[in-house]
Amino acid sequence: MKILELAPPRFISAEDAQKQLNYVEGYVRDPSFACKTVVVEQHYIDRDHMEDHSVFYSKSLYPYPNFCRRVHFFRIEKEELRKQIDRIRNLRAAGADVGEETFRRECAEFSRLYYLGFAVIKPLPGCPVGRTVLRCLPGESGKGYIRKFHCACDLDAHLLGLRLTVWGLPFQQQDLGVSACATTALWTSLQRARQLEQGANATPAQITIRASQFALPFGRPMPSEGLSLDQMCQAVQSLGYSPSLHRADLFEITRGLLFSSVSSGISPVLIMDLDKDTSHAVAVAGVGVTKATQPSATSAILHRSTDLRALYVHDDREGPYLKATIRRKGKEENLLVHFELPSGKEETWVLTHILVPLHPKIRLSFAQLYTAGLDIVYKAQSFAIASSPSSKPITTLWKSRIFRSSVYIDSLLGEGKSEIVKQLCNKVPLSRYIGVIRVDATGLDTFDVLLDTTSTERNLNCLAVVQLGKTRPNTSEFCKFTRDSYGARWIA
């Protein structure tokens, strides 16, 4: 990052201060991206920095600027980049012949082929990396598992008249003035939550202020001394979300909740312990899962989270999309999160809590959804075994997720289930967010059970049983049984 000519920090080593920046450089230089050109915007107003500046840095003796620089990364040579930008701009400038739609399509295609994302560089020598959105790693890892970045989304950046789009999740490093790891992890998680509802993003300053509104267990809020879990929940609540907090006691449940949250596109914040005095928070961007579920030697009920091998987290001490392997020590119930850091150092943290910021209309937590799913799936397993003509082991696979109902319907259309969608839309009024239990049982066609997330565990409202295939005759019998058991509609 010599091109940025950053001022050296005064009392800490450049290596420490620019660790995240070096990580970003290494990330875009990776052969799967092969960045060839960077474009630097010299005067960029970043909302997060502006807010941090207003609350904190503007009151310093040193005149920190309120503007930043922004670096864009492209996988195309400089001359070719110029030509492409000119071509698309001229296309729009040509007038009415080329509609806005064509221009947007060209911008999207250009972004898909060449744009790798951007990094905001703050005028703070000790912590230069501001809001950074980089393209997610490719799905194929080449190491026997697939990467899935469910928590990423399309984000726009405007450069030289073009609207560039990148598929990623925002990252930034902690500055220890306005934010430490707890604030930054929440900031990332809420960026994703806001994207689901098209709202304005919370800035690090807003999060820290809201967190320390009612309690200051560790002294002053700024410079940030870290937050307690209580304060994190306060911040989430006051920013319009419901903090759903789970203790990570049992390996299987913890893994299931993590998988459910991430595969629902809701970025959970992981609270982890390294030792008694050091706790850390990171936000999850995606998962690494095995290509096919390992079959069980005996009859079993398996949650799809058994496929989970790794998490991709935004660690504000290191960088974005850092791989963390899921581990378990012997028969201990702790879920261990193992990092191989870019420095070559290895760290193993114990996951203690999962904090999920949920839309307030989602009253059903992931743990409650998991419990409801178990209630459905053990019946499916029993039915599959009772109806099986052979004595071969029967495995029932299932997963539990929460989606916007429109996203679920869109996914059904993507699977070619337009007739089912027609029936579902005509017969069942859906809540804004629905809990979806998908069951794959031997001898039965795949089916979904839809739960109303505005209801609670004691008075759970089952909306529909959606039968997704008609090749196995026993499925209808079981779906009818499920419909009658839970008072739902049967859609087939």
């Binding site: 660790k19 902690q174 220890l176 430490a180 790891c181 707890a182 267990p217 560790f218 001394e225 870290g226 937050l227 307690s228 879990l229 209580d230 929940c233 907090l245 789970h246 203790r247 990570a248 006691d249 049992l250 299987e252 449940i253 913890t254 299931g256 609270i271 390294l274 050091t278 706790s279 850390h280 928070a281 009920i301 504000d316 001490r317 290191e318 203690t352 809590h353 409650q368 998991y370 419990t371 178990l374 209630d375 053990y378 019946k379 397993q381 029993s382 039915f383 075994i385 009772a386 109806s387 003509p389 052979s390 001898g443 008609k470 090749t471 196995r472 005759p473 026993n474 019998e477 049984f481």
Partner: protein, 94 residues
């Protein structure tokens, strides 16, 4: 006049030798319904109205309900938090 008994006669089937039978007998047309396909693949349609199947299903349900009960309890207990949980300080630096 009471009802008349009417007798009708039908020509008897010709006697066919075993080796000729295969060649002359009409091949029954295969139905290609879902049920036939499923049965031929070894899976038969079951009904919960069948008491035998119902009993087998309920027996399996009792077994599997016992298996998932500890998991349900663990999932519920993951949400039972204490003051200690909320007091954890998160402040890793880097």
């Amino acid at each position: 006049m009471g009802p008349r008994l009417v007798l009708s006669c039908r020509a008897s089937l010709p006697v066919i030798l075993c080796n000729e039978k295969k060649a002359t007998m009409p091949v029954p047309k295969k139905k290609n319904s879902r049920v036939v396909r499923a049965r031929s693949s070894g899976v038969s349609a079951v009904s919960l109205a069948n008491p035998k199947f119902r009993a087998r299903f309920e027996k399996e349900m009792r077994h599997w309900e016992g298996k998932v009960r500890p998991l349900k309890e663990a999932a519920r207990s993951s949400e039972r938090l204490t003051e200690h949980d909320f007091a954890i300080r998160i402040n890793a630096r880097g």
